[in-house]
């Protein structure tokens, strides 16, 4: 099911831009919130979590490609490198995507800053680089990023109404925007599992004005009067979450470079809230505008660089280390010398701001999707949400939604995908009952009199005879022995469920073995643990 990308323009919407004005940067994390998927042998990379037997990174990459971006920088943990590079070679080879340029890098590949040495020395110890925040990683790879860029998570499932090109266009269309980020309205089930975020924005100008973690609130929540004065109608929300889609001006990297790494670890926790705050707080805005809005940029020239007819190349902005080198202890003096030589008059303040796009299901009906359906497919299209699979709850929700789309499109797709399998290896016994809203991966064997309902079965699984699966997600290479009964469970790669086991509402890590005739309910277990 490889998609072809027509280089002349995807679905006639957007011609591929000659000069790429954005680079997509996808950071793949360790999946800290994905216990028990992240422990055991052969841990699957967060980016390769299957949603309906399709790795989520494909969804993200396809989304990027659809917007016409062809430069993609993928930064992954070292442990995932080989798996991802194989995956990319298989799915996104230059043969099928001739113009696509995916750079795959390990976290550890980037340039070291001199002051990184001591901190990462610590970090490289027991848990390799796990302490490194996204901002620091980004800072290290800044030499790879020549243009403005969009930072994306690897675990994003965008709804149909939110296209990346629309986000990029929003950024392109407002020259003073340094950052465009996306807040989304999550389905109820997911919201409970995420840290609540208090966001403030101006509905009219769609300026993002504040992001604050709700856990850090004091007794009183204080807002600067200056902010209120500039925005008589200030919208606040505790409902929206940060989608971690950040369209950034290249100069943000310069700002990052000017700061010491211990000040900035995570984009989410530090850098973005700072930027947002700096956009309206006059002191910060002024201080940073030098870096964020480099004065040497000729507006006419940059406007020309967006032109499709003119051939003006946009000079990559110089590394402004010299100007902003606050990294070394004597940096202040350097800065002093500079400022002495540079300017006796104050630097002109170029205004800049941060924008926000709020992604809500377009239907005005109150978004209260039922977490658990009782077998009844919803006849009306349920509101589509932006969902991230960064938590178990998100992962469940994505797969549930996938199953629902299967069941709603029953008429169109064959109930038994196995018949389509040209290899014929997916031996499904004639007496096996497979409901229409299930998906069976290739090479999977299903034994006699087994029953599979509302489940996604990965590739090369073996389902023993008489096994009953309902509402399950099986990854690849899972073995279910005879007469096992599994309900609402996620079974990771290489898992084995012993004969006659009864499992309900469980998630098991890769390689786990459920002993025969075990009865498990509501467990989250990884290899080596016992119920």
């Amino acid at each position: 099911m490889a998609r072809t990308l027509d280089p002349s323009g995807v679905s006639g919407k957007r011609p591929i831009i000659e000069e790429q004005d954005f680079m997509a940067v996808v950071l793949v994390g360790y999946g800290e919130h994905l216990y028990p998927f992240n422990e055991g042998t052969n841990v699957l990379s967060k980016a390769l979590l299957p949603i309906g037997n399709k790795p989520i990174i494909n969804i993200v990459l396809d989304w990027i490609l659809k917007s016409g971006l062809l430069e993609i920088l993928l930064i992954v943990p070292p442990s995932n490198y080989s798996a991802l590079s194989n995956h990319l070679a298989e799915n996104y080879s230059s043969a099928s995507y001739p113009r696509l340029n995916i750079i795959l890098k390990k976290f550890t590949d980037g340039e070291r800053d001199e002051d990184d040495a001591n901190t990462s020395g610590l970090g490289m110890g027991a848990k390799p680089a796990e302490t490194e925040g996204t901002a620091r990683v980004l800072k290290r790879f800044r030499s790879y990023i020549k243009t403005d860029f969009v930072l994306l998570p690897c675990d994003l499932y965008p709804p149909a109404y939110l296209s990346l090109s629309s986000i990029l266009d929003k950024h392109r269309s407002s020259p003073s925007a340094v950052l465009t980020s996306v807040l989304y309205d999550p389905p109820e089930v997911i919201r409970e599992h995420e840290e609540a975020l208090l966001s403030a924005y101006d509905r009219r100008s769609s300026e993002l004005l504040m992001l604050q973690n709700m856990d850090n609130l004091d007794e009183d929540f204080e807002i600067r009067s200056a902010l209120l004065e500039a925005h008589p109608t200030l919208s606040l929300s505790t409902r929206l979450l940060d989608a971690h889609i950040y369209v950034c001006r290249r100069s943000i990297l310069d700002l990052l470079a000017s700061r010491r790494p211990r000040d900035l670890d995570s984009m989410k926790v530090q850098v973005i809230p700072w930027l947002v705050k700096g956009s309206w707080q006059k002191g910060l805005a002024r201080q940073w505008s030098q870096l964020l809005c480099p004065p040497d940029e000729d507006p006419l020239l940059s406007a020309l660089s967006y032109s499709t007819t003119s051939r003006v190349t946009r000079a990559p902005q110089p590394e402004s280390d010299s100007k902003s080198g606050a990294e070394s202890p004597d940096a202040f003096e350097n800065g002093m010398e500079n400022s002495q030589t540079l300017k006796p008059k104050p630097v002109p303040h170029v205004p800049w701001h941060c924008q926000v796009i709020i992604s809500r299901p377009p239907v005005p009906e109150p978004p209260a999707p039922k977490g658990k359906e009782k077998g009844k497919p919803i006849p009306v299209a349920e509101p589509e949400y932006l969902i991230r699979s960064n938590t178990i709850a998100g992962y469940w929700e994505l797969n549930r939604r996938f199953l629902r789309t299967l069941s709603s499109s029953v008429g169109a797709t064959p109930a038994r995908p196995a018949f389509d399998d040209p290899t014929g290896k997916a031996a499904i016994h004639a007496s096996a009952q497979i409901s229409a809203d299930s998906l069976i991966g290739e090479g999977t064997k299903i034994g006699e009199r087994s029953s599979i309902k509302k489940s996604i079965i990965g590739r090369h699984c073996v389902i023993g005879k008489g096994a009953k699966l309902s509402g399950c997600i099986l990854w690849d290479f899972v073995t279910v022995d005879e007469n096992a009964k599994i309900e609402n469970a996620i079974l990771c790669t290489n898992l084995r469920v012993g004969a006659g086991a009864q499992i309900k509402d469980c998630e098991f890590g890769p390689g786990y073995e459920v002993p025969s005739a075990a009865v498990l309910k509501g467990e989250r277990l990884v290899l080596g643990q016992e119920a």
């Binding site: 009219r204 204080e222 500039a230 008589p232 505790t238 707080q281 002093m336």
Partner: protein, 748 residues
């Protein structure tokens, strides 16, 4: 929809008393609600607004002068269309008291909510829409007991704009905070539990509504002072005898009480109404809004309520070009009279030759002598103005006689029946009443006041100077002491003629302005031309020794001072002052440096070193001043180090008591972005800052002079050192940086 028969008529309660002193002198003989606006009493405007809103029964809750209101109602044509009842009480001192008495009278019917009108209204908005919305809300949730009217839009700031936290889908009010313009608070606090633990838990989106900002670009929100109330509201007031102010006490009490479980909603007027529907609604709260609303009416914002069409008072006016309304009845205009709109000339007025009327309203029977001018002023009935008089931004009461050559300054209020003698100059923001000011509990005549009256008004006048609101003792009641709007500086902003343009949001920058221009002491001193601050005598020329020019002449210094002072007092745009100064110094061949010195010296002279304010006060003031004046400096200097040197020079030579505060002053300049840390560090390292080359070239002061320089330099150095450390050190919590700095410098 409207055909549904309502058994019970829609009731409205109008609080005729203001329970404050904002119109005090004018209200000596009559209640505020009978003051004329565009020659029509405010009560008439209010009744008109209520009749438009399908109100059937009106309760006028009167305090003092109840008999006048009763009499007025007897003769009013509204008597025929509305059931108007005057309730009077001598004991009610606050709106809360009024509601308590209302509750005990039992005149309100419980089937329908009633409209509570706090202050006189000028409106073409149909309030019954608000009532309907309230009823709908209450059908869904009977806990809603009140709906506040909130206006949106308009570019005017008001010192009494609240900050409201609203849940937009349900229009429920979650938090209400008074937010005076001064003293401004850098932050506004909301209880966190509104966000972390809302009730009900489904609340997850909020809007903060605040007043129009200083940029004025986008309209903010204002409290309309019109509430739709259920009977619970007066009942709750009865239960809680300490509820006085309906906003501060009642609304906050209901919102913060978990026990009551009652809810308050807001109703937005303006912004989203369909075209063609009236949506103008404003209330007369103080002299500032009085002026604004008058101009609005003349600009036909309250259409169809305009003087030439449906003037509620019934006088016939003719509309001429430029929003000039002239009564059709016996108005005498001289050939040389100029009237520039918006203006309204009442019946039987006579304007003699060479008179000019600018954006003003004149009542019935106003006579204006030759060569007089009236600008931005509101003149009530039967006023006689002599020749060569100048009235600016003031309100003149009924039956006032103003003799020749009188000047009435901006913001002045002249009460009914006052006579101003020939040549009297009424200083800005003065209140003149016919009787002596006699508040309750007042024992003896105040000698100061007497003396001032005599000095200002002379012996040919009939009238007495009343203390302005901010200098009155705040003995009103204990509860008023805590009202943030009643802060003297904020109150002074409520007056006609005050400019808000130079207020910045971050600091209470007005303080010096109001101190300098409104306190009687400085008025008196201005008049006596004996200023206690500033450059009084011939300036010492030691400032200019390092300059290639021969030094500025004394005339230049004097002229510059006058220019700056005038610009400052009248709130000119700083850039314009800069332009004026730029024209001035070449004329005296004075050199740009001396101009710069004059300016910075002037700014520094405005920083008060009041012992009460303490370090934070000095810092705040200086930062605000520097902020305001910052735009002037680029014209006069390329090198800000020189500016800092000038500041030092000023302190050393003119105002040594400021020496100890110099660090704070520098900090103020830094915070105001006037100078950056580079400039300050260069200043610190500059030998001139340590007085080198100053002593010998100076006016012979020699050693002692240099020591003074060093002393001041040391004070400044302390701050620059701290700053340098801070800049090179951690900047991580940039937001918190400021707090840290504040702490560290307070330790200095």
């Amino acid at each position: 929809k409207l055909d549904i028969p309502d058994e019970s008529p829609l009731q409205a309660v109008v609080l005729a008393d203001s329970y404050n002193r904002r119109f005090e002198v004018l209200c000596a003989d009559r209640p505020r609600i009978l003051l004329p606006l565009c020659s029509t009493p405010l009560l008439t405007w209010t009744l008109e607004a209520l009749s438009l809103s399908k109100v059937k029964q009106v309760f006028l809750f009167c305090g003092v002068h109840a008999e006048q209101i009763r009499e007025f109602v007897e003769q009013s044509p509204y008597r025929r269309t509305l059931d108007i009842q005057c309730l009077s009480s001598q004991t009610a001192r606050t709106p809360g008291d009024a509601l308590r008495e209302l509750d005990s009278m039992g005149v309100l019917n419980g089937d329908n909510p009633f409209i509570l009108v706090h202050s006189p209204l000028v409106s073409n908005y149909d309030l019954s829409k608000m009532v309907d919305a309230h009823k709908r809300r209450r059908e869904a949730d009977p806990n809603y007991i009140m709906t506040l009217g909130v206006g949106q839009g308009g570019s005017r700031r008001h010192p009494e704009s609240p900050i409201m936290l609203v849940h937009p889908p349900s229009s429920r009010l979650l938090h209400y905070a008074s937010h005076p313009l001064v003293p401004s608070t850098p932050r506004v606090a909301f209880p966190s539990h509104l966000f972390t633990d809302p009730f009900p838990a489904s609340i997850d989106s909020y809007e903060i509504w605040s007043g129009t900002g200083s940029s004025g670009g986008r309209g903010g929100y204002r409290d309309l002072g019109v509430d739709i109330c259920e009977l619970d509201v007066p009942a709750l007031c009865t239960e809680n005898f300490d509820y006085h102010d309906l906003r501060r006490h009642f609304v906050n009490g209901v919102l913060t009480s978990d026990l009551l479980g009652k809810k308050i909603a807001v109703h937005l007027v303006g912004g989203r109404q369909r075209k063609g529907e009236g949506r103008y609604i404003e209330r007369v709260r103080d002299t500032r809004t009085y002026g604004e609303i008058t101009r609005d009416v003349l600009h036909r914002w309250a259409f169809p309520l305009a003087p030439d069409l449906n003037e509620p008072g019934g006088t016939q006016y003719e509309l001429r070009a430029g929003n000039v309304y002239i009564a059709r009845d016996n108005v005498m205009l001289s050939r040389t009279t100029t009237i520039r709109g918006p203006a309204l000339i009442g019946p039987a007025s006579s304007l003699q030759s060479n008179t000019s009327i600018l954006r003003s309203t004149l009542g019935t029977l106003t006579t204006l002598g030759p060569n007089s001018s009236i600008t931005d002023s509101y003149i009530f009935d039967n006023v006689l103005v002599g020749s060569h008089c100048h009235l600016d931004n003031c309100i003149i009461g009924k039956d006032v006689v103003i003799a020749d050559d009188v000047t009435v300054g901006r913001g002045a209020l002249v009460g009914d029946g006052v006579k101003l003698g020939k040549g009297v100059q009424v200083p800005p923001w003065t209140r003149v009443g016919r009787e002596r000011w006699r508040p309750e509990g007042w024992e003896e005549g105040d000698e100061d006041q007497e003396a001032k009256t005599l000095r200002i008004l002379g012996d040919q006048s009939l009238g007495f100077i009343w203390p302005t609101e901010e200098e009155q003792p705040s003995s009103d009641s204990e509860s008023d002491g805590e009202d943030p709007y009643e802060h003297p500086r904020n109150k002074s902003l409520l007056q006609l003629g005050r400019s808000l343009s130079n207020l910045s949001s971050s600091t209470g920058s007005l303080s010096t302005l109001s101190k300098a221009s409104s306190s009687p002491a400085s008025i008196a001193s201005d008049l006596d031309t004996s200023s206690d601050e500033g450059y009084g005598d011939v300036p010492s020329m030691s400032l200019s020794m390092a300059l290639p020019t021969t030094g500025p002449s004394a005339e230049f210094t004097k002229e510059a001072q006058l220019t700056l002072e005038r610009g400052y007092e009248e709130g000119y745009d700083v850039v314009n002052i800069g332009t004026e100064m730029g024209l001035l110094f070449p004329a005296y061949n004075a050199g740009v440096e001396s101009a710069r010195k004059e300016i910075i010296g002037f700014v520094l002279s405005k920083i008060p070193l009041a012992p009460g304010g303490g370090a934070a006060g000095v810092l705040g003031e200086s930062e605000a001043l520097f902020k305001r004046w910052k735009p002037i400096f680029p014209k006069f200097t390329q090198d800000y180090t020189a500016l800092v040197l000038d500041m030092q020079a000023y302190v050393v030579e003119k105002r040594q008591e400021m020496g100890g505060w110099f660090g704070l002053v520098l900090r103020g300049a830094y915070e105001a972005d006037l100078v950056d840390e580079g400039v300050l560090v260069r200043w610190r390292d500059d030998p001139r800052a340590r007085g080198e080359g100053q002593g010998d070239a100076g006016a012979g002061a020699g050693e002692g002079e240099q020591e003074k320089w060093v002393e001041v330099w040391k004070k400044g150095k302390m701050y620059v050192d701290v700053l340098e450390e801070m800049e090179s050190g951690s900047e991580e919590e940039s937001g918190e940086e400021e707090e840290e700095e504040e702490e560290s410098s307070e330790h200095e």
